[in-house]
Symmetry: C2
Subunit: 425 residues, 2 copies
């Protein structure tokens, strides 16, 4: 029986899940893999705080040195979250010859190059399946199943909080603020929800996924990020009437020699496979030149689903004879072979509030046409309380900058732009 | 630059796809992985037959010895299909110290133990991602991403031909024979369609998937197999009216200490994630005790999707320092730790043609109740041409054998059982 002695950095939701999962499969892996995994130390801030799991008190320590300087510990599971001190602790662990398994998207997205350089220097492992989309094996599939593909695009629902909020707004016509409040009460959104609802969480994950898909470093600073805080029940219901479902999508596209990476609310046709991914589920939809369409969906968060990914990394790290590293991850900068395009082409859903008088529609169409933006569908709703008419347009594809320029030319006395939402097919 | 010299056994649809894909990514993998893959020989039956790809004529050979005895060739891609001679050729290759990558579910399901023993003896690789569900990385995910899970069930749509047929029957109310004929004309079904429509193809694949999920050999002989040839447009339209979609499902379930493996037509609620997997798409839906629900969907057949899996195996085999093998696959027999249960519990959709007279309904309910089968929903359709009334019942869950016994007790003068279809949630 091979024994691996490990330490945890952190024992919150994820750490407790990993502890529980390791206990629940102890006998199975002893029997099947002749492997025993012993947790020797668990770093926590307060050793006397009540825990979600039955980690014996004597394993807890508030001293990171005690854990990182223990030569018996050869693998460290980092589940503290946040960039620091997690990054520094991981670097110390790697430099000390310990393999690191992390669930930390922020630390990885920001410091991948430093972490990987440290791992390679000591020839130890750096594993991060749990950093993106919980149990869904996004990292393994991109790295090990799709290497023969040129990935044309990825579209992901990679934040469960916002998907829960948008699903409820879509189903029940509820307002953003009301659903957010409920989600906070249910523990599905943080007291400070910015990281989720502003799209930052998705941007970190997309930076990691896009780097793997494009085989080149895509720093998070290159990800255009727009959250869901300005969306209204009105937008969602108008979209619904036109056959669209609203999702916060993380999109990575390669077109000819350029790439786009962006996180923003997006209307999808009801029939799109991502449209039926509801509630707190996550999904990654992609297209490769050989595999064609593929979608992975599942639980993107939660203690056990995240632990599923962490423990699969631990088991992998414990059994492979040699660790491997993606070559691109050795630099902090964007890969020079990737040309980032922020003037992407899209369809747009535009909701306006317009004066109810003859000729307005013609003027709007004219302003759009000046920038070569043409209208695909139009929907006029009953007159609003302020006497203005809500008008909704969906355009044909147009470059983002042309659309923005056209909107700037609108005469605000005649019509106000209430929302602009991108539409993907 | 590392060079791998390979040979193809077969150059039909899959082989041509692998050739094309290798050519299309040649520069990428040279640049990214410092790897060159040279195809040295391609075994075909007739070297003068026109091919779907531009393999140079001088690579073609009709002599298997020429290929298998070539010491320069270190990896063999088997894409002939069928049990023999593919199995014997693979065994010879492995025994000759060559790694084998295969897309052959039949040969693998039937001879996994012989192939693996040969591979282990020479410490060469045996890879088979393409044997199940084309591009969808079912094998990699079960082996490398879900090791920390006790998988409770897998439900798969793993045969594209039958899914295409059932999708069209569902959408358009068409008859089985008509759609099958169309599918044959379109090349989506074989001239002799038995392997697909009788469920055999799915049974081979399920045998492989279930073995990996349960960490124990599940021979194909243990898979209960029922095809789609007896399904009628009437069954599908009645199910549709009750909110069900009909799919040919491959099911592997673990309940307490028993397992079930079965392929049969199954009604699923419209809202089930598998219900919207239409046309020739494949999908695997599963539940693990840690990951919870997960679904993978994509292209389960076709030259390039299958090549996507084959080439990912080639690239993997070419770069790992050591090959690994699932421990269970060394025996031909069912794993002794697996107790197979063929008296599974299910809900049932039962379509009857009944005499239109008072008391018949009560009698039917009584016959079912005698075996503890209770009715959940009932639907009565207008009287048929023969003066009989079509009656549809959906039962609550009941053991298969009780249901069968109850049906045998029906008085055929009063009612005839037209169809019995299992219902999953």
């Amino acid at each position: 029986m091979k024994e691996i002695i490990i330490g945890f950095l952190g024992c919150g939701n994820v750490g407790s899940g990993v502890w529980k999962l390791l206990k629940s499969i102890e006998k199975d892996i002893a029997h099947r893999m002749h492997l025993s995994i012993r947790v020797k130390k668990v770093l926590v801030r307060d050793v006397n705080k009540a825990r979600n799991c039955d980690v014996p008190h004597e394993l807890l320590t508030a001293s990171v040195d005690e854990l990182l300087d223990d030569p018996e510990i050869t693998l460290v599971v980092e589940c503290m979250g946040g960039e620091q001190p997690a990054t520094e602790y991981m670097l110390r662990a790697l430099r000390g010859g310990k393999t690191v398994v992390t669930a930390n998207k922020v630390a990885l997205a920001l410091n991948w190059h430093r972490l990987q350089a440290a791992a390679q220097e000591r020839n130890v492992g750096l594993y991060y399946e749990a950093s993106v989309c919980g149990a869904i094996p996004v990292i393994n599939v991109l790295q090990n199943s799709l290497q023969a593909n040129r990935i044309g695009h990825i579209m992901g629902i990679i934040n469960g909080t916002t998907n829960y909020i948008l699903s409820r707004m879509y189903e029940n016509g509820e307002d953003y603020r009301d659903v957010l409040g409920d989600a906070q009460r249910l523990g599905l959104a943080e007291p400070n929800p910015a990281s989720d609802v502003e799209g930052y969480d998705a941007a970190y994950k997309l930076s990691i996924m896009a780097s793997l898909a494009f085989h080149g470093r895509v720093p998070v600073s290159k990800v255009y990020t727009e959250g869901i805080t300005k969306l209204t029940a009105m937008d969602i219901s108008c979209g619904k009437e036109m056959g669209y479902v609203l999702k916060l999508l993380a999109i990575a596209k390669r077109e000819e020699n350029t790439v786009q990476v962006r996180v923003h609310p997006t209307f999808l046709p009801e029939s799109h496979p991502l449209s039926s991914v509801n509630g707190s589920f996550n999904a990654m939809y992609l297209h490769g030149h050989a595999c064609q369409e593929m979608m992975l969906q599942g639980r993107g968060a939660g203690d056990l689903p995240t632990a599923s990914a962490v423990v699969s990394d631990i088991l992998h790290a414990a059994t492979v004879p040699e660790h491997s590293y993606p070559t691109f991850a050795n630099t902090a900068e964007a890969d020079p072979s990737l040309v980032f395009n922020d003037n992407w082409v899209s369809k747009y859903f535009i909701r306006l509030s317009a004066e109810d008088r003859p000729g307005v529609l013609a003027k709007i169409a004219g302003w759009l046409a000046q920038e070569d933006v043409s209208i695909a569908t139009m929907l006029q709703k009953g007159r609003a309380d302020d006497g203005r008419v809500p008008l909704i347009f969906v355009t044909h594809t147009a470059p983002e900058k042309s659309l923005r320029k056209a909107l700037e030319s609108f005469d605000t006395a005649l019509c106000t732009v209430e929302s602009v939402i991108r539409v993907e097919e």
